[in-house]
Amino acid sequence: MANYGMAFDYKLCINCHACEVACKEENGIDLGAKNHRLWIQEETKVSGDFWNLDRDKVEFMQMQCQECQDAPCMAACPNGAIYRDNNGIVRLHKDLCDLTRACMSACPYNARYVDEKNHVTDKCIFCADTRLARGETTTACQITCPAKLRYFGNLDDPESEISKVLSSRKHFTLKPEKKTKPKLFYLE
């Protein structure tokens, strides 16, 4: 029983994609550019000409399911296939999913894709059925990251590393106007 969340020291990212490969290998995600539980997004293109590049806005952002506390995907699924497990992670009853893709349309974060191998929609679940199920305390993307920019842990435990980081550093969530209350935080 936990309430898992993740925080990103996002400015440390060097856009190497180690997280993405680790995720695919750990969780058996198919190859193919569209099949990603997580991805790194190059935010803001470098503008200007070569001699006067406006380069300060370049950031690499970590993107994946934002683990909304008020999850639009859950509400949208006509089959009630989406549920929250007892670690607070939004999960899928695979046998109830018949690919209506309602969850995909409802997600403001574009976090879901169609897993064609299993004929379901898929997204990041914090390695819930692999690493966490084995009792490990890190996710594949977190442990492999060269910049060590990912914090993962129990938000309800004030002694957890993530709780301490969130209480000591400014942070923001994505698309707060959607009122989804994400459990993924970006550290300033």
Partner: protein, 802 residues
């Protein structure tokens, strides 16, 4: 902060990811019985899917040392029912600090690459046409010894050459089994003609630093507060621990970072200041920094007085040549004001580092550039101390003596044309190859023994490499994949990959030294064998027949053995090292155990064998800081300062003068950067998702970078009518390629850039074949004058839309 989230944006965001599926599909692949898109193998040891979800069942975690690039990170292979399902970082190795990069994570795909070399093969067609016959290991060794109707064997060649062992050449790529190959072909078989990656990589950097400050050293980026990093793209060419340490502290987190690069790289993204320096002019920049430092007396006077030799001459040299910032500004494209500011900031910083760099030789002045950088670092006094360039400590391993026979008929190596200080050990690839092609070798070179090395992609001027290989009577290749070079081999011996073999132990020095052991996570797949087993078996096959040849031609051996009985001759053969297989009598794992137990005791061996890493007091020192990070040595046990009074910075190497090399770094007019109108300077480099040609067939990595593009300045593209993904012909004085265009504002108008390692010519590598372009077809085979190392950034090209 407002962030738009989009998968589509991700797909279009970076050029690497923007065009999917640019591969060429080869019709048939004789080497592969499996489809490249899925694993359809009937072999129960091959997973059914390309990526395998890890299970919750019990698994083994076998410590390995990554072999995907030269860096050597430690990891743990998760093995479930004989299948490797995941590679995780090993938390015990201070070098990679519990991380694996994208390539390290994708190592599974190289292990299970359907195109792997699976069994020994002997050529039945013409060189390069890919026609081979599957044979047994013994038949393959037999073909090396006695040849076939298509090629001569080594026995006949050495008979014709009267036992001149120098008629055999050999080459090898970096790795833990490299030394064994050098023992086999060099020390045991007796060839002096060895070339490897050194002369196409960091030779001048190593040479410049070692000759100036006595070491290449380790940059303590955890404690430095100011960094100049030039032409070293650590965000995309990942080196541990440098990449990890540096970017944690860049951008206002304690390490002020100045990046010099002709391109706007991901490293430049993280810089406080980025200078788009003209290619090949870094030396002028460093000389001007030095000028300001000396003129304004900013250097560490106490340190200089104690440790810097020849400072007065150097001071005089720098000032009298007027290496002013104004002078350098014109050459480098960095303003005098910025140069002056950088020099002042550097010398005022508590712990400034001018990063040594690594990679290839940029230009002909590279040796002098590295010397100037090392001296400049010395002037700051920030050497051999916390936050500086650190010498560190290495944990010694017992030396293994090789009983190397002496061959009276063997001649010396010859690749010395145009080189001031020829390397006796690793030679010069370009000079070696070109002298053979031009007939300048004093005796014939007739065979190449090759291992894990792809000069067709790595050595500038592929056409010459091809002609060189075709000239040989016998080519032997030991490798894991059918590379472009493998296609010119007469005998192919398939090697087990790094996840299938236990390798000789290695020691990594530095501030936090450690010993590591790579252990086989699974047994060798297919009919592959570990390198040391191949060395042993090949040695056993060749040993007696080649000894007979020595007896026939070597007068010294004839004199020594005259009148001896058969048994006495046999004893002579053994005692004098002519028994070629003797170094591999014991398996690698057993040798490792003996060496570690001898040096550090039984307990140390047990720790190393279980955890993959050992250093004294590891169990006491190694502590977990948080779920994801560890401390390896306590602060007061790190080896920051080890040199004491031994520390010397050598400004003036007067003994170089007689070899025609400047005793002190100096600028010459012919070093100026210039590109004729209508042409472009070609620069090449690496990417975080690829390691040169070695990973271009890796399905996972190719998914991240489908192909390489040519970067062309966007305004130039507009003028030339070139759009994204248009095909462009790139033509240099030595060749031409066709490649897709990437118009970008991240490169100067008179330069182009392409990733190295693409454009494979081997049809047996389905994903790599014909995908993108090979820069070695364009880069002219120029050498720098000190070691004869390949100059990579001195070629101008023309481009046109096709």
């Amino acid at each position: 902060m407002s962030v738009e989230v989009s998968r589509r944006k991700f797909l279009q965001g970076s050029v690497a990811l923007s065009v999917a599926g640019a591969s060429a599909i080869s019709a048939t692949n004789l080497f592969s019985s499996e489809n490249a898109s899925e694993h359809k193998s009937t072999n129960s040891r091959i997973p059914s899917t390309i990526t395998t979800k890890t299970s919750t069942a019990k698994a083994e975690h076998v410590p390995f040392l990554c072999g995907i690039c030269v860096n050597k990170c430690a990891g743990l292979a998760r093995v479930e029912d004989g299948i490797i399902t995941k590679l995780d970082p090993n938390p015990y190795f201070p070098k990679n600090r519990n991380m694996l990069c994208p390539r390290g994570n994708a190592g599974i795909q190289t292990l299970y690459d359907p195109d792997r070399l699976k069994y020994p093969m002997v050529r039945i067609g013409e060189r390069g046409d890919g026609k081979y016959k599957r044979v047994s290991w013994d038949e393959a060794y037999e073909a090396i010894l006695n040849g076939t109707d298509k090629f001569k064997g080594i026995k006949q060649i050495l008979d014709e050459e009267k036992d001149n062992r120098a008629t055999i050449g050999y080459c090898n790529g970096e790795g833990l089994s490299k030394e064994g190959f050098e023992v086999l072909v060099g020390e045991k078989i007796g060839s002096p003609n060895y070339v490897d990656e050194v002369s196409i990589c960091l030779e001048t950097t190593l040479g410049g630093y070692v000759n100036t400050i006595g070491t290449y050293g380790e940059a303590d980026l955890t404690n430095a507060d100011y960094l100049i990093i030039a032409g070293a793209n650590r965000a995309e060419a990942i080196i541990t621990p440098d990449t990890m340490d540096m970017f944690k502290r860049s951008k206002g987190r304690g390490l002020k970072t100045i990046v010099l690069d002709p391109r706007f790289t991901n490293t430049a993204v993280k810089a406080d200041r980025w200078y788009a320096i003209n290619p090949g002019t870094d030396l002028a920049f460093v000389l001007a920094l030095t000028y300001v430092t000396i003129k304004e007396e900013l250097y560490d006077k106490a340190f200089v007085a104690k440790h810097v030799e020849g400072f007065d001459e150097y001071k005089q040299h720098i000032l009298s040549h007027n290496y002013t910032p104004e002078w350098a500004a014109k050459l480098t494209n960095i303003s005098a004001k910025e140069i002056t500011k950088t020099a002042r900031e550097f010398m005022a910083a508590r712990s400034p580092i001018y990063y040594q760099g690594r990679r290839s030789v940029f230009s002909k002045n590279d040796f002098q550039l590295r010397r100037a950088m090392a001296i400049f670092q010395g002037l700051s006094g920030n050497l051999d101390k916390k936050g500086g360039i650190v010498y560190g400590q290495k944990l010694q391993l017992p030396k293994e003596d090789v009983n190397a026979p002496i061959y009276g008929q063997a001649q010396a190596r010859f690749d010395k044309d145009g080189i001031a200080i020829p390397s006796l050990k690793t030679g010069s690839w370009i000079v070696f190859r070109n002298m053979v092609l031009e007939g300048k070798n004093p005796y014939p070179l007739r065979a190449m023994f090759m291992r894990k090395h792809n000069p067709m992609a790595g050595v500038p001027n592929t056409k010459k490499t091809e002609a060189f290989l075709k000239k040989m009577d016998l080519n032997v290749m030991i490798d894991i994949l059918p590379s472009d070079t493998t296609m010119y081999a007469d005998v192919i011996l398939p090697e087990a990959s790094y996840l299938e073999r236990t390798s000789p132990v290695a020691s990594y020095g530095g501030m936090e030294p450690a010993i590591v052991q790579r252990k086989a996570a699974i047994k060798p797949l297919y009919e592959t064998k570990t390198p040391e087993v191949i060395y042993k078996e090949l040695a056993e096959k060749l040993s007696k027949p080649l000894w007979e040849n020595t007896l026939k031609y070597d007068e010294d051996v004839q004199d020594d053995t005259e009148g001896m009985s058969k048994a006495e001759i046999e004893q002579y053969y053994k005692e004098n090292g002519f028994d070629l297989a003797e170094p591999w009598e014991k398996p690698v794992h057993e040798q490792n155990e003996e060496r570690i137990t001898k040096a550090y005791g039984k307990k140390a061996w047990e720790i190393l064998d279980e955890k993959g890493v050992y250093y004294p007091h590891m169990e006491e020192y190694h502590t977990q800081l948080n779920p994801n990070e560890f401390e390896y040595y306590p602060e007061n046990k790190k080896h920051y300062s080890t040199q004491g009074d031994k520390l010397k910075v050598k400004c003036n190497l007067s003994n170089l003068t007689k070899k025609g090399v400047d005793a002190m770094p100096a600028w010459h007019d012919d070093m100026e950067f210039s590109v004729p109108a209508g042409q472009f300077r070609l620069v090449t480099g690496r990417h975080a998702q690829f390691t040169q040609s070695g990973t271009t067939n890796n399905a996972m990595l190719r998914d991240l970078i489908p192909t390489n593009y040519i970067w062309i300045n966007n305004q130039v593209c507009e003028k030339m009518g070139i759009k994204f993904a248009d095909k462009v012909e790139v033509k240099s004085p030595i060749g031409k390629v066709t490649i897709m265009a990437y118009p970008t504002n991240k490169i100067a108008p008179n330069q182009i850039f392409m990733l190295h390692g693409f454009g494979g010519s081997s049809e047996k590598m389905e994903l790599a074949y014909g995908n993108g372009a090979n820069d070695a077809l364009l880069i002219e085979d120029k050498i720098e004058p000190v070691y004869g190392a390949a100059v990579m950034h001195d070629t101008n090209v023309e481009i046109r839309k096709v």
